[in-house]
Symmetry: C2
Subunit: 348 residues, 2 copies
């Protein structure tokens, strides 16, 4: 393997800066991916700054990876040299527990291996993410990418895409269902696109009517200003499902009031301050508050294939890696439509 | 109708005291029930003291009613004079919405009528509950009672029973399932009996090992001290369903850690301080926190019939109505095994 280079945080307060390291030679079932694009997820910022208390430094973030296969182990079957490959939030798992055996590696009983800042199962090293020029991964944890999609706009599908696709599928969002999306950021805009594409009546719930035109363009059948009690009351008890992508602190009760009997609100955002759930808000209509996180390898591939068939990608702003620290600051101000993606050719 | 007498709270701070009032003559589909026993639910205390801010005074509590049919409207089909009848938490609903039409009157779109402190749909009066000598109710909202069961021990089934039976049925608790019950009070001990009877592996979760022997007698296959981190860790990720009956403030996260992938914790208790739900505690295994409340008329009758077939009743301490204020104080100290029931012959 040629030396790897990327951008790393050296500690919780340092900005990301150029960093050199090495990756192992690919094993028999592994591929080497030359990274073309890597999406910028809010988790990258949380992890770079150790806001979840689990970071390991130096830390190279990035788990929305699209690239080109440049080397293959002898037993690789899924990829050919030169093909496009994608890597998401997990890059390994125990591969033998019940969830792994049914293709739900994200529920691995022993814990899946994260794409960065985790202990690699093969060589014990600390995984380094996609803000870098290449990656080595077992083919099981890499995905093929439909040729008709723009690679830069595919990158965010690997986290923001599957994180919204999976719960919308799991809770059977489709024709005849009224579905709300809370938040219109990286996750929310993908949730809106999928809910619309699945044939549901898709409603964007937003605290800012400035986002109304954009939401309608992205697929919303309706937009509701969640801070308007009259508007919220008019829709009370009419939603089958709500996908909550908001990462800012927010009360759940006003949204729960929108749900029908047996409805579910599923959180995929990670607000720093956990919301309270008043039992009174749940019991009257037997409601549920759930959580969901990415998806397994099988479903992630299904999602990418679905996006190929329906021509769905993320809305992105492509940046050179030299602008990553600025992008982090803009992301904190929600100043991005709707996902930053790093053009890794800027590393050269 | 002869005059009614009962015990009422005249305001939020007054103790319950004798109170006289009148009930209407029964309509064509209504029955008059001479009340024999009425269970004492924690809601009665909350409502007597206006702790939920919705009380209407004078307030006669009581919604776990068992009695004898003493008069019948001309069109009544379900009851004969002298038969035993039971009345629970709701005594009317719109009777024409979709939930009512499918026998789920507790989800009535227009709101069901509560047994006390609610506006009666027939005559506009304020409903007076079962801490009294009689009740007038439409036969749709009264239930037949299996003859083999003790009427005093049946009374709590009308709230504590159906409140635990319904979610255990809805979430398919049965053979092959491991089910936890949080709390061993009026609700919890019924949840434990039902979970055991349904064939599940029933586990009592308790903060006090003093309750262990009782829990085992009531049907627990295991008892776990929830304050023992090692014991809780040993059971992590092994439960299919948890029924949370606790009314004291408590964190949900330690219990959520017990659930398997796609598991659900359902709250039926009503802690005054709503618990927080950390998204991180839900997303890793796609868990749900839900709420449930009593059941419809059809399911309530099914529950009573099931109890008849399986000889299930509540554990009760029978008191004369003159001891109701003392019983409230003891209930606050959890000094009851496991439900007070008022013997209404003490009213005479």
């Amino acid at each position: 393997m040629p030396p790897s280079k990327g951008y790393a945080a050296l500690n919780a307060t340092s900005p990301l800066a150029p960093y050199g390291f090495t990756r192992r030679e690919p094993g028999a079932t592994e591929i080497v991916v030359e990274i073309l694009y890597c999406g910028v997820c809010h988790s990258d910022l949380h992890m770079a700054r150790n806001e979840w208390g689990q970071s390991i430094y130096p830390l190279v973030p990035g788990h929305e990876i699209v690239g080109r296969v440049t080397a293959l182990g002898s037993a690789v079957k899924k990829f050919k040299l030169g093909e496009t490959a994608a890597i998401g939030v997990i890059i390994d798992s125990c591969r033998h527990c019940a969830p792994c055996n049914r293709g739900e590696e994200h529920f691995c009983d022993e814990g899946a291996t994260l794409t960065y800042a985790a202990k690699d199962r093969v060589d014990g090293s600390i995984t380094m993410g996609g803000y870098s020029n290449n990656y080595v991964v077992d083919e099981r944890f890499a995905h093929t990418v439909p040729a008709n999609l723009s690679p830069a706009a595919v990158a965010p599908l690997l986290c923001a895409g599957i994180t919204t696709y999976s719960p919308l599928r799991h809770w059977n969002v489709g024709p005849g269902k009224k579905v709300g999306i809370i938040g219109l950021g990286g996750l929310g805009h993908m949730g809106l696109k999928f809910a619309h594409s699945f044939g549901a009546h898709a409603v964007q719930l937003t605290t800012s009517l400035k986002k109304k035109e954009d939401a309608l363009k992205l697929g919303a059948d309706e937009v509701i200003l969640s801070t308007d009690p009259a508007a919220m009351k008019a829709h009370a008890g009419t939603f089958d499902f709500i996908l909550d992508t908001a990462s800012a602190p927010h009360a759940l009760e006003p949204y729960l009031a929108l749900l029908k009997q047996d409805g579910t609100l599923t959180m995929v955002g990670l607000p720093e301050k956990p919301p309270t759930v008043a039992p009174f808000a749940l019991i009257g209509k037997r409601l549920s508050v759930a959580g969901s996180m990415i998806g397994g390898m099988e479903e992630t591939q299904q999602m990418l294939d679905y996006c190929g068939h329906h021509n769905i990608t993320s809305e992105v702003e492509v940046i050179p890696i030299q602008k990553i620290n600025e992008a982090f600051e803009r992301m904190l101000k929600q100043d991005v439509k709707y996902r930053f993606v790093i053009d890794m050719s800027s590393l050269k």
